[in-house]
């Protein structure tokens, strides 16, 4: 079971500004994600979604403001933050010369974690990765299968925080449904999930809250009602109205 304090914000950006090569990408960004919450940062191309994720991972330094993960300033507790975080890049590329099992074992050994083959198989079962595919080189994997492998790895690392970059882009509808189901399961288990996406429909389907990001600023937030979904039309209208491409 993931141990995390549900009362506090697990991910928190306060007046966060990030410049890349002297260009302001994030301009006073403010948002908070609580434990067990699925938060979607929705925005068009160039809105600053990936920059936000990379800043949360410590790859970009804030030019001002603050960015905290698990209550700690990212750059001050980089090892802690990265240990607690499972990042899924858009293409979820793993090593193509390795099998899914070898990939998982390699990353786990670097993370100082020992798992048995049975435990690894359990994680693969949980993400519904086909048994026959597990010992096949990843060169032949679809994006969905690569994502499942990456999530299995995150489960084995028992990372309580997930940062997902365009997780459903390029997935077929069945794979999207499977993925959304998995994300909900993770959140119900206590995991905190921040996903960045430009897919309004997908975000509304899975997120508890949506933050609308435009030109490096949060221009709106939408929350799902109790036991319901965020209204797609409302978000779509705001997305279009705000001029996000």
């Amino acid at each position: 079971m993931i141990e995390i304090d549900q009362a506090k914000a697990v991910i928190e950006a306060s007046s966060l500004c990030v410049n890349i090569k002297n260009n302001p990408i994030l301009k006073s960004l403010n948002f908070r994600v609580k434990a067990g919450e699925i938060y979607a940062l929705l925005g068009g191309n160039g809105a600053g979604k990936s920059t936000t994720l990379k800043t949360l991972l410590g790859f970009n330094a804030p030019s001002s403001g603050s960015v905290k993960v698990d209550g700690k300033e990212v750059l001050e507790a980089l090892n802690h933050v990265r240990k607690k975080t499972a990042y899924l890049p858009e293409s979820a590329t793993l090593y193509t010369h390795l099998t899914a099992r070898e990939n998982v074992k390699y990353f786990l050994s670097l993370a100082d974690i020992e798992k048995t083959d049975a435990e690894i198989d359990q994680a693969f079962d949980r993400v519904a990765l086909q048994t026959k595919a597990r010992d096949r080189h990843m060169q032949t994997y679809s994006k969905g299968m690569r994502q499942k492998t990456a999530i299995a790895l995150a489960l084995l690392r028992e990372a309580p925080i997930f940062l997902l970059d365009e997780p459903t882009s390029g997935l077929d509808p069945v794979a999207i449904d499977e993925f959304n189901q998995l994300v909900r399961e993770l959140a119900s288990g206590g995991a905190t999930i921040l996903m960045v996406t430009h897919d309004v429909y997908g975000a509304c389907q899975v997120a508890d809250r949506i933050g609308l990001l435009r030109d490096g600023e949060l221009v709106g937030e939408f929350s799902a009602p109790q036991d319901g979904q965020i209204e797609t039309e409302e978000v779509h209208a705001a997305f279009a109205q705000r001029g996000a491409a």
């Binding site: 990379k54 991972l57 790859f59 090892n79 990265r82 240990k83 975080t85 499972a86 990042y87 890049p89 293409s91 590329t93 793993l94 090593y95 193509t96 010369h97 390795l98 390699y106 990353f107 050994s109 670097l110 993370a111 100082d112 974690i113 020992e114 798992k115 435990e119 359990q122 994680a123 990456a150 489960l155 084995l156 690392r157 028992e158």
Partner: protein, 487 residues
């Protein structure tokens, strides 16, 4: 699901990355082909060069013995005919020349020694060979100096850049693996390849122990190559870490190889020739002839240049004519003339050697700009195949020449009367009288050329070691800087 955490040390993580790099190479046809070709090339060149060098060494020893024996087996003759009959000095190759023939291939390995002349060394491999071998042979030194960096580039250019290109780098770093661990792991994998490349070289070097080479020289030689290849491994890591695409990394490394291994050594030679100009052969020959003319003709005892010697001899022995002297005047003149002539020849030879050495030193300074220049110097110096060793051979061969010529001149002066000498062309009987017994040909010193002591060779190669260490230090600083910014 239970997590079993173990406390893996940073070094253990580096080994994990290195092992995965090997797994990648072994599963990649290109990498495994490159590794196999590299090992085969090194191994075959070591074997071929070892056979050639051992054969050469054996031949030279045999030729030296033959030349010695042929000289002493000559029948009764006029001693001055033996001066012109001459003798050969052969340079036995240094034990480590199996791996790096150095300047031996160009300078020649034997000298014809005769009176009144200092001949050049001859029978250089590069001059004897066919047009094809004159382009350079596939020696172990050439393979490790020139081709091994290419092998490292081929298998390592994408070591970090492919992680970036395939986005596994961000993924890896996001999970807490540091840039340092990643680069160090890739570096360790490359170092293990270097170890493999050096295995045949080390085994061959150890064989030279049987040929009398010292452990210190062998260690210095192998260490030098290990440092040189480390420089290349670091260059590969630096470019692979700093550039974002595999193609960029490969192009940059290929250009660097061309610059450091092909262009810089030639720039070094050209700069050396320009900054330390040397007189041409024709110019030098004319200058030598002009100086020698001032000394008089040693074959002509009546040359006015020897009038003073004649007077002092007559005075010394208190006689009125050279016929009354207890020694053969012609032999004394030959001795005196040879001594003066040798002094002049040595002066020019020393000037020439100093010029060549000064040029070599200028060229070696380019080791600060090219690790290839540094290892070439280091390799030849520690192997005892440098220009310094060749100069030592020239000086020792000249000593041998001077001693045997003067030994024969002494026989000429003391064992043959002036009258018999002057009448030598009168008739057959007179000619026979003007000969001395063959037992007098035992004037040859034993000639067994040996390279400089290992301590001196290592001392001479110290600047090249420093150059390679400086390269390594600078590259490590650069890689650390790049590693901190690795995303």
């Amino acid at each position: 699901m239970s997590e079993n955490s173990s406390s893996t040390t940073p070094f253990a993580k580096i080994i994990i990355v290195a092992k995965d790099e090997w797994r990648y190479w072994l599963r990649s046809k290109l990498a495994i082909s490159v590794l196999a070709i590299g090992l085969l090339l090194t191994l075959s060149s070591v074997i071929v060069t070892a056979i050639n060098t051992m054969e050469l060494s054996h031949t030279r020893h045999e030729l030296q013995n033959d030349a010695d024996q042929t000289f002493v087996d000559q029948p009764d003759r006029h001693p001055h005919r033996m001066v012109h009959y001459g003798h050969y000095a052969f340079r036995a190759p240094s034990p480590l020349s199996v791996l790096d023939p150095g300047v031996d291939a160009y300078t020649g390995n034997s000298i014809f020694l005769e009176g009144h002349r200092q001949n050049s060394a001859m029978f250089a491999d590069q001059k004897q060979g066919t047009a094809l071998t004159q382009l350079g042979s596939l020696t172990p030194a050439f393979i490790v100096q020139t081709l091994a960096p290419l092998l490292l580039i081929l298998i390592g250019y994408s070591s970090v850049s492919r992680e970036r290109e395939s986005q596994t780098l961000t993924y890896l770093l996001s999970q807490g693996t540091s840039g340092f661990t990643l680069i160090a792991g890739k570096g360790l994998a490359l170092m293990s390849v270097i170890g493999l490349i050096l295995v045949p070289l080390t085994i061959s070097a150890l064989f030279s122990l049987h040929e009398g080479e010292s452990v210190a020289a062998i260690l210095g030689f192998i260490l030098g190559y290990a440092l040189y290849l480390t420089v290349w491994a670091l260059l590969v890591l630096l470019f692979s870490s700093a550039l974002s695409k595999n193609s960029e990394s490969f192009t940059a490394l290929a250009l660097t190889w061309i610059l450091l291994c092909v262009v810089m050594p030639r720039v070094a030679s050209s700069t050396a020739i320009t900054t330390v100009p040397a007189a041409g052969k024709l110019e030098t020959d004319f200058a030598v002839i002009a100086e020698l003319r001032k000394l008089g003709d040693g074959h002509n005892a009546n040359d006015p240049a020897f009038a003073q010697i004649k007077a002092s001899l007559l005075e010394k022995y208190n006689v009125d004519s050279i016929e009354q002297l207890p020694v053969n005047y012609r032999g004394v003149i030959a001795m005196t003339s040879e001594a003066k002539l040798t002094e002049v020849l040595n002066e020019f030879a020393e000037q020439r050697m100093q010029t060549v050495l000064a040029q070599t030193i200028v060229s070696r300074d380019f080791g600060w700009l090219s690790p290839m220049v540094a290892i070439r110097s280091l390799s030849m110096l520690t192997a005892g195949t440098s220009i310094e060793t060749h100069h030592k051979f020239l000086r020792e061969a000249e000593d041998l020449r001077f001693n045997f010529v003067q030994g024969l001149n002494k026989v000429h002066a003391e064992r043959l009367t002036y009258q018999d000498d002057m009448n030598r062309n009168k008739d057959l009987d007179s000619s026979n009288k003007a000969r001395v017994a063959a037992k007098n040909w035992q004037v040859l010193d034993d000639f067994a050329f040996a390279v400089d002591k290992p301590s001196l060779r290592l001392q001479r190669s110290a600047p090249a070691f420093l150059q390679l260490l400086a390269w390594i230090a600078v590259l490590i600083i650069a890689i650390r800087w790049v590693g901190k910014r690795l995303v």
